[in-house]
Amino acid sequence: MKARNYIAELIKPLNPSEKGYLKKLFNAKQNHSMLKLFQSLEEELKLSSTLHVRHTDEDLNNLLQLILEGLESYHAGPASEARSLLNQIEILTEKNLYHQAEKLIQKAKALCIKNELNEQLSELIEWEVSLQGNKAPTEENEKKFESLFEETFEIITKQKKELKSKGDLHE
């Protein structure tokens, strides 16, 4: 991905609050060179729609990456929130904080069910299966496993159905 091809059209229409957030983010990360570059591009783009050649590709790539990360944390919707919770579940599991990870799974599952986020829901169930595997191998847990796999296969059926209806629509 060449940042030079995209960065101008990305920065120009950013609204003031997005720009403000990005500047604060660069500051907090003590990325002063990127802040400076961002501000100089803002000025440049007020006068022209193209960028000066003097900016290196490396700098522009880094800046584009930071802008995208900044926009990602600025714009939170249910799907990105579910993705974020999945990242956090992974971290808590690695730290052996299984109980906390399970709590987040339940929170994320409710969010996914409400917003029909099938792929994230399926990922969450796989995490639930992994965590369940750390518990005592009781009959009760066996039943729990069965119900989790049932949930997954239901999601797969739903995904296939949705895809089929999409295909019909395209035809």
Partner: protein, 506 residues
């Protein structure tokens, strides 16, 4: 567990590098004159046990407990956000690209959105992360359509359907693996294993889906499941072939180790375990050391994985009769267990820990300490692995015998018999041992006839082992025959086991 304890546990798990990232990022959130959640973080760091009252007082929230609750909640989520931000895990990178592409799509920057989502599709494909692959491919098609980028710009619905079907067949193996693992954890070697439907399914199963672009996970769980079944059937040669197949698999897809570290760990843990069963002790120790190195090389911080390797190492010492050496490791062993999150709540680790310590103390002749650890298992009904629970009950009788507690022995015999009957394990062995102990208890340890009685006991047990090989397998947890031999020959227990193992610790 209270939410406050969650915050305490989370802060206690933070590494110095993570701490630095949290403090750097906190600058983004300074509101007003000070940053209260960093203060809370620092105060919790100082505590050895969570004390909310002290925190409320230090931070001045005595008259506003609601605000304090809000602060705790905010701090907890802020820390998680910081940890997430500094993570560079592959799945996180894919999720991030998907979120960024979605934002750009909403802003109608289709070209850049498309570049990002294509990258997400490629990475998800590389890691065969089905759900992320499906999601990214679906969004990629939507962006291509909305942005009018041409039909070549997306994988097409047929490819997405193939990925969904790939996931569906993968879950068949995932399910089988989960179920056989559960059965295997209930009891290591299962009687009539071939009759159990989960085991039969795995044993008979052949690998579906030949497409290597999609079948990494299929193969992984296929070999892992088969490995468990062969191990449970004591077909160690075949179990080792499964490990070798997995080893080739990991070498072919080295980048997968990062996302499937648990399965990678299991592969080489199983390798060491099988080598131990082959009595290739030095090879098993070598495999454990390799895996310990891998944990460091891959910077894995999961304390349970480190602890389990400790268990395995102790088990090797135990099986070779090197109880003194194992005793020297008990402090390290205790510390490894302490690093587990709430070790008291982890029944698996708790049962293994007390069982191995009981064995070590038994091996060095410290029966009082051995009894203490066996009682931990019995009195607290630690029933993670049924085999271990049963052997623990049997060991408690032998410990009482060693301690010469005849009165208590008679009382315990009844209770152990009832328990093992209920658990339906070691029923044949226990009958023989109980007859022996009852006889001994009655005759008040008459030394004149002891040798004959011990020889008879040994013969009876050997006979039972021939009749019920499964009980012989369960008794791998405690080498009762070596113990009887040590009594007959009047030699230390450790000496008999050392001679039997033929292994000289290098």
């Amino acid at each position: 567990m209270k939410p406050s304890e969650n915050l305490f546990d989370l802060i206690k798990s933070i590494t110095p590098q993570e701490r630095q990232a949290i403090f750097t990022l906190s600058k983004l959130h300074v509101k007003g004159e000070e940053n209260k959640y960093l203060l809370l973080f620092q105060e919790i760091e100082k505590q050895k046990e969570f004390d909310e009252k002290v925190l409320i007082k230090i931070l001045g929230y005595e008259n506003d407990l609601n605000k304090f609750a809000f602060l705790k909640n905010y701090t907890y989520h802020f820390i998680l956000k910081c940890l997430e931000e500094r993570s560079n895990a592959p799945y996180k990178r894919i999720r991030s690209k998907i979120s960024q592409a979605t934002i750009l799509r909403n802003k109608k920057f289709y070209r850049l959105a498309h570049e990002l989502i294509k990258e997400a599709v490629r990475t998800a494909e590389k890691y065969q992360a089905f759900d992320l692959w499906i999601e990214a491919s679906r969004i990629c098609c939507d962006i291509a359509m909305e942005g009018d980028l041409g039909s070549q710009s997306c994988e097409g619905l047929f490819t997405i359907l193939q990925i969904i079907e790939g996931k569906e067949s993968y879950f068949v193996y995932r399910r089988l693996f989960t179920m056989v693992r559960l059965k295997h954890h209930q009891t290591t070697f299962i009687k009539n294993i071939h009759l159990m439907k989960e085991f039969k399914a795995v044993y008979d199963e052949e690998l579906m889906l030949a497409n290597p672009a999609m079948n990494f996970n299929h193969k992984l769980y296929f070999y892992l499941s088969k490995g468990i079944v062969y191990y449970a059937k004591k077909e160690f040669d075949m179990a080792y072939i499964m490990v070798k197949e997995l080893d080739k698999h990991w070498k072919k897809y080295p980048w997968m180790v990062e996302t499937k570290f648990g399965a990678f760990y299991n592969t080489y843990y199983n390798k060491a375990l099988i080598e131990l069963n082959f009595k290739q002790f030095s090879q098993a120790i070598h495999s454990i050391e390799d895996l310990q190195k891998n944990l460091s090389d891959y910077k894995r911080e999961n304390p349970f994985q480190r602890f389990m390797l400790f268990n395995l190492m102790i088990d090797i010492y135990r099986k070779c009769g090197y109880f003194e050496e194992a005793l020297n490791k008990t402090e390290e062993y205790r510390i490894a267990r302490e690093t587990l999150h709430k070790p008291e709540e982890n029944i698996n680790s708790k049962q293994l820990y007390h069982f191995y310590l009981a064995n070590i103390y038994f091996g060095v002749g410290d029966f009082k300490s051995a009894n203490k650890h066996i009682n931990e298992i019995i009195n607290n009904a630690m029933d993670y692995n049924k085999d271990i629970s049963c052997v623990a009950h049997l060991m408690s009788l032998i410990i009482h015998y060693e301690l010469g507690k005849t009165d208590l022995l008679i009382y315990r015999i009844k209770s152990v018999y009832r328990t093992l009957k209920k658990k339906e394990c070691l029923l044949h062995i226990i009958d023989v041992v109980l007859d022996f102990l009852k006889d001994i208890a009655k005759t008040k340890f008459d030394p004149g006839h002891m040798r004959d009685k011990l020889i008879k006991l040994k013969e009876d047990i050997e006979q039972e082992f021939t009749r019920e090989p499964m009980e012989k397998e369960v008794m791998e947890y405690f080498d009762i025959l070596s113990w009887i031999t040590s009594k007959i020959e009047k030699k230390p227990f450790s000496q008999v086991i050392k001679a039997k193992s033929g292994y000289a610790l290098g």
